[in-house]
Subunit: 274 residues, 2 copies
């Protein structure tokens, strides 16, 4: 359904590798795309990271991440806004398809979800002109509802779509991450509504039990409960032309030899999506 | 907003107590309602449990639980159906307001969520005549999406409402459990759609971090992130006339002296909902 020519490895899947080592890993395994993380890009230097991916002929499918808009404190909000503008510039320098936004949870000291959601909309609106000027489309990501309180108050793809549609298509789109949205009975309908707005398609499986750190509960494709074929079909039918990026947070996978991880990523992708 | 005269203590909050001890605890603390669990009712004997709550003048706001409709195996499905009919009879004998249904996750060996949801709808339809004959309204509960794979494929209140509306109001309604649905941006709208169909209102707070066993992550009202006032206002505006039942799964609370737990439940309820 989606060829290996559109496979991307998100750097978080091989958490211990630098940008240059992750780039070499992708090249060794014939993985044509890479998703980068800002901390690793900073450690490498933005220009050097951009040069490394370009020299290797890799496509940068995403830069992770901007967002965290929900600060009550004015100074903290201004700092976050400045950091988001820097992230847009880095995404542009890297030639990334999108800057992924994890929008932030409840405002500290508040239980008002609607307030958090308004602050997120305002924060994105504030960032849009900068993104347009840089030629970067912001990727609004819905995170699983178990992260609603502390990481992202956008809990369903439908909410991300509603947000994106408030802005021009070149400025804002949505991320479809299977791990976060697979359970949603409205998923197929919301992917349809996202036609022309999907800027990133991320893949990880839902495995159980959840680990103590629930951020690290994702598994290799096929090891869990998600049916990837219908979700992928929907994303493609919605006109998505970009890469499919495997992004797995999992301590065991991080502890495994990166070449084993890359080989498994490639093989499972071919089996389940290819 | 909702008086202490409508407070109910779900027996699971004081997990180590028998029915008779939980009944005595409610009486000591002036808690007029109780939610019962089938395993404890069985240990006590249904008739004895019914007599104990009646003698104490307590109202039985719910019996937990029936459901688990998603078996591929025909024999397992027949066993579950028989068990559900027994649960209806027990709910009727206890004079419970509702039999709460936890509907089951993915069918074993399958990743087809739509199949699981059709089996749940069919399972409820199958149980409805028995419930009507017994005068028991089934309470369809949405569980948090983190339980979608393994416990309940009904993940949003809206799905539970859609299911309930397929049946007569005396046969099927919905459970609003704050812990499971608080994060949902459609919650207020779906509570409105549930007007006349809410058969149970359950309360627990969302606390972080989640424990290793994610079933036990709930906290006393006020210890977490949920804003109870607007949810309660919506439930009341939707015409709910029943009890508000505090149901907290939490090892620390289970290890605490039950009288301390009951006192905290009563005080927090009065502070946040009274």
């Amino acid at each position: 359904m989606i060829g290996i020519g559109r496979l991307s490895l998100n750097q978080a899947t091989v958490h211990n590798l630098s940008v240059t080592d992750a780039v070499k890993l992708c090249v060794r395994h014939g993985i044509p795309g890479i998703g980068l993380w800002r901390d690793q890009v900073t450690a490498c230097g933005v220009a050097q990271a951009a040069a490394a991916v370009r020299a290797a002929g890799l496509h940068v499918s995403s830069l992770c991440r901007g967002g965290f808009f929900t600060y009550a404190d004015r100074d903290a909000r201004a700092l976050a806004a400045a950091d988001n503008r820097a992230a847009v510039a880095e995404a542009a320098a890297l030639g990334a398809d999108t800057l992924i936004l994890v929008s932030g949870g409840l405002v500290p000291g508040s239980r008002d979800l609607a307030l958090a959601r308004r602050m997120i909309a305002d924060g994105i609106a504030d960032l849009v002109p900068c993104a347009q000027q840089a030629g970067i489309t912001l990727g609004i990501e819905a995170l699983h509802p178990m992260f609603c309180a502390d990481r992202c108050a956008i809990s369903r793809l439908g909410e991300a779509v509603d947000l994106a549609l408030q802005f021009p298509a070149d400025a804002a789109g949505v991320v479809v991450d299977t791990y976060h949205v697979w359970w949603d009975s409205q998923l197929a309908a919301d992917i349809g509504r996202a036609a022309g707005r999907i800027v990133s398609y991320q893949l990880a499986d839902w495995t159980l039990p959840l680990p103590q750190d629930t951020l690290l509960g994702r598994g290799h494709l096929g090891d869990g409960f998600i049916d990837f074929a219908p979700i992928t079909a929907g994303v493609l039918a919605a006109g998505y032309l970009g890469y499919a990026e495997v992004e797995i947070f999992n301590q065991e996978i991080w502890d495994a030899p990166p070449d084993d991880t890359a080989a498994t990523v490639r093989r499972r992708f071919a089996e389940l999506l290819g």
